[in-house]
């Protein structure tokens, strides 16, 4: 530490060209910090990820392929895609509408709405699932009415979709609210004064301005929708080939000691996560390029 202290002191009193030294640490401290971070990443992220792929391929490609193509696995993949395919578009609509209302208008109950949007983040997923069981289950509030009309929500696809929507709805809105608030209303007002209708203003001015934030939100929303376990587990009922999503299917396979098949499906999810990260990185890169342009505009 003595070394660091003298270096800092020298930095403070040195000429301008060296002044950046004032905020750096000695090489030893830097190596230790970097090492700790890398070790942590290796143990908690990289190793488990590697294990997934190693275990999936341990018994060879044909077993791996079988694990992915057995009917139950295919049905789980299909159900996951359906749930995400419904939840993501709905949350895009909801997220844009909510972010719009919050970013552009003052209204009564606005802070309450912001708090409620965060609710799915703060509530345990199991509780989120349970809410729907209590509402739509046989013993639930709407249970008797639903049974009378021969509608099934819990332990069926609609319940899974509902739970997925609930768990993933903050992603798009959260991403867009700060963006829309920062952009203000002037461009929209300009469009209106130039004779554009509300609809034209939205498609030609507002949407292009939030494009990158929206794509980013969709990516995160989709990743969570496909990977959600807790909430979906409560409402699904685990009926093989009918109400199992990929994460649930993996659990069942694992509990049955079909490790190769479990890891095969898991590798698919992991691959999806990696792909999401790559796309996210690309979007961030594009968005930051636009942000530097926007900064140039302010200067």
């Amino acid at each position: 530490m003595a070394g660091a202290a003298t270096l800092t002191a020298r930095g403070v009193f040195s000429t301008r060209s060296e002044s950046t030294r004032a905020v750096t640490e000695s090489p030893a401290v830097r190596w230790i910090l970097t090492g700790v971070a890398l070790l942590f990443l290796g143990v908690f992220i990289f190793m488990p990820l590697a294990v997934v792929f190693v275990e999936a391929l341990r018994k060879g490609l044909s077993v791996y392929w079988d694990g992915l193509t057995q009917p139950d696995a295919l049905s789980a993949i299909k159900l996951t895609l359906i749930a995400a395919g419904i939840a993501v578009p709905l949350n895009v609509i909801f997220g844009v509408a909510a972010a719009w209302a919050i970013g552009k208008f003052e209204f009564w109950g606005k802070s309450l709405l912001i708090t409620l949007i965060d609710l799915p983040f703060s509530v345990s997923p199991v509780v989120s699932g349970l809410i729907y069981v209590l509402l739509f289950g046989l013993q639930g509030v709407f249970g008797p009415w639903l049974a009378e009309h021969d509608l099934q929500i819990i332990f069926a696809v609609p319940g899974i979709v509902l739970a997925t929507i609930f768990v993933t709805f903050p992603f798009v809105a959260r991403e867009l609210i700060p963006l829309i608030q920062a952009q203000g209303q002037e461009e929209e007002e300009a469009a209106l004064s130039l004779g554009a209708s509300g609809w034209q203003t939205f498609w030609r001015v507002s949407l292009p301005n939030i494009k990158w934030g929206l794509i980013y939100g969709v990516i995160l929303c989709n990743a969570r929708a496909m990977g959600e376990f807790g909430a979906v587990s409560v409402v699904s009922g685990h009926i093989r080939g009918r109400t199992n999503t990929m994460p649930l299917h993996i659990e069942i396979l694992y509990n049955e000691y079909s490790f190769a098949a479990a890891f095969a499906v898991a590798s698919l999810l992991a691959f999806l996560a990696l792909a999401t990260l790559v796309v996210k990185r690309m979007v961030e890169w594009r968005a930051s390029r636009q942000a530097t342009q926007a900064l140039g505009e302010l200067a």
């Binding site: 002037e186 469009a191 209106l192 004064s193 004779g195 140039g296 505009e297």
Partner: protein
């Protein structure tokens, strides 16, 4: 197209941004709304544009009541303070926007739009920058693009919110002369908001001075400058010295204590002499001299200890050979008198 504003009031919460404002703007005129921040000038402009709606009163365009019409239907060109250019569109697309969003029946053909945009680019002298994005333009260029975009829809009225506020001094001066020229060519009824009295006095045909949600005075630049209707207008239109005084039988006198009358004198309308001349005068001690610039600015302390600002020509200054801490006589060439409301 003429604009009539009749008894318009607008509140934001408890704050009265506009308080029973009336103003008539004849067709083809260039009018400045001048006032300090918070005086309601921008609100008034936005009310004319249809971006805000008044709680009381009405707006007429050419005798037609348009109070309840939206911005979209008013056919006004609005130039925003920070330009509000569409950041994801090129200069060309920005200018073409207003034509592109017209309903199909009224929309010009592609070649007509291109011709119109080219014509406007020529007007703002930016033909070569049609494919740039707003982020690649300087402040002055953005301002001109914003103006061209507003003019593209052939508005009946042009409204500009602090059009030169965000520019540096040199560009500002160039652009305001350019705007004046443009107005002389295009002759569209225009209203612009500014807090800069020089800008208002130089560019506008008429100036409306605003304060606390009210219009204090409307008139030609000459008129408001030389015949201010209220102390506020006098104060706002230039530097001013304030004295307690009295005028009896056309004789003016300065007093240390409040008298019920306030005398206002601009720095260049005070004269410094070494001898009194029988008229109204007081003694002052010179504290600071700034001779950099076309006029020499002198700060002095009056005999009762109040600061006094005097401006004189460089020649006069050299003739007098004034020095610091010298005691001189200050003689008003012209003062403006208002009732002191605090006393009477």
């Amino acid at each position: 197209m003429s604009i009539q504003i009749k008894n318009v009031s607008k509140k934001f919460g408890q704050f009265a941004a506009l308080d029973n404002v009336s103003l008539e703007i004849p067709s083809g005129e260039l009018v400045a709304l001048l006032g300090p921040s918070g005086s309601g000038k921008t609100t008034l402009l936005r009310v004319i544009a249809g971006l805000e709606f008044p709680e009381a009163g009405s707006i007429l365009f050419e005798d037609e009541d348009i109070t309840d019409r939206t911005a979209r239907d008013r056919r006004v060109g609005f130039v925003f303070q920070h330009y509000a250019l569409f950041r994801h569109m090129t200069v060309f697309e920005n200018i073409a926007f207003g034509l592109r969003v017209r309903p199909r029946k009224l929309r010009p053909s592609k070649s007509q739009i291109r011709d119109k945009v080219q014509e406007l680019l020529k007007l703002i002298q930016l033909q070569t920058l049609a494919n740039r994005y707003p982020s690649q333009l300087s402040g002055g260029q953005r301002q001109r693009v914003a103006l061209a975009r507003a003019l593209a829809v052939e508005p009946s009225v042009l409204l500009l919110d602090e059009p030169f506020g965000a520019l540096d001094a040199k560009v500002r001066l160039e652009l305001r002369r350019w705007l004046r020229q443009l107005h002389d060519e295009v002759h569209i009824t225009s209203v612009f908001v500014t807090h800069d009295q020089d800008e208002a006095l130089e560019v506008a045909d008429r100036v409306a001075v605003m304060n606390e949600g009210k219009i204090e005075q409307v008139g030609a630049p000459d008129e408001v400058y030389h015949h201010p209707a209220s102390p506020f207008v006098y104060n706002f239109l230039g530097n001013v010295n304030l004295f307690h005084g009295r005028s009896e039988d056309d004789k003016l006198s300065f007093h240390e204590q409040p008298t019920g009358e306030l005398l206002y004198a601009r720095p260049h309308l005070l004269e410094i002499r070494r001898q009194a001349n029988g008229g109204a005068h007081f003694r002052a001690t010179i504290k600071h001299i700034n001779s950099a610039g076309p006029l020499v600015k002198i700060e002095a302390l009056s005999e009762w200890g109040a600061p006094v600002h005097v401006e004189m020509s460089q020649e006069k200054f050299h003739d007098l050979e004034l020095v610091r801490n010298e005691t001189v006589f200050v003689i008003p060439k012209e003062v403006k008198m208002f009732q002191n409301k605090a006393v009477s």
